[in-house]
Amino acid sequence: MTPTTKKPAGAVSVKPALRDLRSPMMLVAAVGALLLVIAGVAMVHFSEQSYRETKLQQVDAQGRILASTVTAALAFDDRSAAQEYVNALDVDPQIQIAAVYDAAGNLFAAHARDPARPAPAMLPSRTASTDGDGLDVTAPVQQGGVTIGTVYVRSLIEPISRRFERYGVVALLVAMAGLIFMLLGAAQSRLADVNDRLSRQGAELADANRDLRAQIEQREQAETALRQAQKMEAIGQLTGGIAHDFNNLLQVIMGNLEVLQRRDLVENDVAKRLVAAAARGAERAATLTQRLLAFARRQPLNPKPLDVNALVAGMSELLHRSLGEGIVIQTVLATGLWRVAVDANQLESALLNLAVNARDAMPSGGRLTIETENAHLDEAHASAQEAKAGDYVSIAVTDTGTGMSRDVLQKAFEPFFTTKDFGKGSGLGLSQAYGFMRQSGGHVRIDSEVGSGTTVRLYLPRIADEADAIPAVDAEALPRGSIDRLILVVEDDPEVRAHAVTMLRELGYGVVEAMDGRSALGILEATPDIAMMFTDVGLPGMNGRELADEARKRRPGLRVLFTTGYARDAIVHNGRLDAGVELLTKPFTYAALSTKVHRMLSGGAA
């Protein structure tokens, strides 16, 4: 699972005020507004200046006009005419005083709007000037190049309130422009913010989408794996059921053939050969059903602590013989290999199957490499391979053969799926390896490339407990029992029961029989010197396991040997046998039975 990291929402956003200040548009707007205000003030100032100049010019012109018109009146002392002229300026409401002075500077004629402020009696010394609320202009009265007097005009400057009314409009316009600037800036800033957030959300969305796609992909993979597992399970159920029935039948056939051979009941040579051929056929059939059971994970396993390197090395001779001259066998064995606990026979069988497959993939020769190593599987890889994370010992079988296509790979574990020619392969080799490894708590992985070769890796779970020594292979001759060692055989199938009873008696043991659990318990109580109970697991009514439990309640030291072709969960939990329980797989051979029973009876109480 890919961990998704998401920023906390609070980390992204900044205080709004700070954000506004940060925004360049906002700054531009503020500067723009400031410039507008400055421009407005400058405009007002300039306008004021210009107004005063214009006013001065205007009043000066009025003064000059008056001076020009009043010449004759002044020259000829016509005060009434002069008065008419100065009065004419009354139409301009801003003219406060209009006066004419003669050459000596004495007042000749005057008009004053405000009687409280009459024209000065003598000509004011200033020529043209403005003061706070008014402006004074004087103009010479000339005729024929001779100055004969002076005109004095005093005008009010437009009241400051009136002017500011005018400037107020300008100020209003400036303020509105500034406001619009600010608004635009704010809008721009807001827009930028929104865009920013949108793009961020877009990115988050894209991230989420990517996550989702990854999850979907993972889920699809998991579903595919699950479907595959379910298919294998279903096939396993089917296979297991058929194999179990076949096993029982084969037990009968093989047992009877063995009896025929052992007791020399067949005297005819031809008949002997036929019996031998039938026995071989039955053996092969038994091997097939074993594999089927192994695939179905119903192969009762007998896992023991095991040195994988030793096992691989010990197979060397067998492999050479099996693979032939054209194939170079190379083993790469890691040192310090962890310990595993698996069924050694099954492991050998699996490796042999893989080797045979490899050989068949290399018709013109090649190299087979068996490599052991410690492997740690982390969660990510484990889920992808439908396995548990942890420590494993891996055995990799690599060939330099034709390889497998993707389609072939998908079906490789299915029983009876084979690419080999009809009659050449059973299609059970990889199935057996698969079922065996699953049952042993491990898994199988195939890596293959068409034209380059294939690597099949078996992952065996590491065990922490390394106390158990690997038992030495019992090489002695078939151990014989004694008649005082009484064995109770419980089997519902009369033929199978008869066969087992026959074999045990052959081995020299004393035998009592029961056809179900109930009668077996009765016999146990009635016969205290029974040393061992040899029971089928699949019994009608009380099954083998329940029978064993009951029996051991009554006889705590009782040794129990199960036999089954079809383990189910009655005795097999998690691919392991429960403590104190031994198992003999159907169909079993004379030798296997002999060894097992002898070891159990000669060992300490279970």
């Binding site: 010449t71 004759a72 002392d77 016509d78 009434s80 003669d102 005729q143 024929g144 190049g145 001779v146």
Partner: protein, 182 residues
């Protein structure tokens, strides 16, 4: 009321004008005569003579006065140091019967052969000034009158046109009466 004020102002102004002309011996000469003398040169500034009326651009403006003293002396006194359109004034006293050639302004304070003199300069660029207020006889282009005890003047634009003179409208504005062109 208004009229009374105007009369008072007029008297006052007349006196002032006399003072302004700088007449030292104001006591000996009637104030009215002094004012008229002053007006003589002041009027010159409002009158335009034809180009050929003067010998040269710097030539003085000749004021001819008939009737002898004391008026001649008063006029001489009045124009001393005055200028009009850049020209100085020259005062000639014309004896009875003396020709008025070279005169630009011909002032005839007394009614003696006035009509003959007016006729003599008719058609020539001479501004004729009469003092008809007193006598009511023949009038020149400018004719002093006494209105409300003030010296005013009448202007005859018809005569001015005959003598090829242009009178400024400003002067007309202050004239007590204007006889328009036909």
């Amino acid at each position: 009321m208004r009229r009374a004020l105007r009369v008072a102002l007029g008297a006052y102004a007349t006196m002032l004008a006399a003072l302004a002309s700088g007449m030292a011996c104001a006591q000996a000469i009637p104030l009215e005569q002094a004012v008229k003398a002053t007006y003589l040169y002041k009027i010159a500034a409002f009158v335009e003579w034809p180009a050929g009326a003067f010998e040269s651009p710097g030539a003085p403006l000749v004021i001819c006065v008939t009737g002898g003293d004391p008026v001649g002396a008063v006029v001489e006194e009045a124009v001393t140091g005055q200028r009009a359109n850049g020209r100085e004034f020259e005062v000639r006293r014309l004896a009875a019967g003396a020709p008025s050639a070279g005169c630009h302004i011909l002032y005839m304070p007394v009614q003696a052969a006035t009509a003959a003199r007016l006729e003599a300069v008719r058609g020539t660029p001479v501004l004729t000034v009469t003092d008809a207020a007193r006598d009511g006889g023949a009038q020149g282009i400018v004719n002093f009158v006494n209105v409300d005890n003030r010296v005013r003047f009448e202007i005859d634009l018809r005569s001015a046109a005959v003598n090829h003179l242009e009178i400024s409208s400003k002067l007309l504005n202050v004239a007590s009466r204007v006889r328009p062109k036909p």
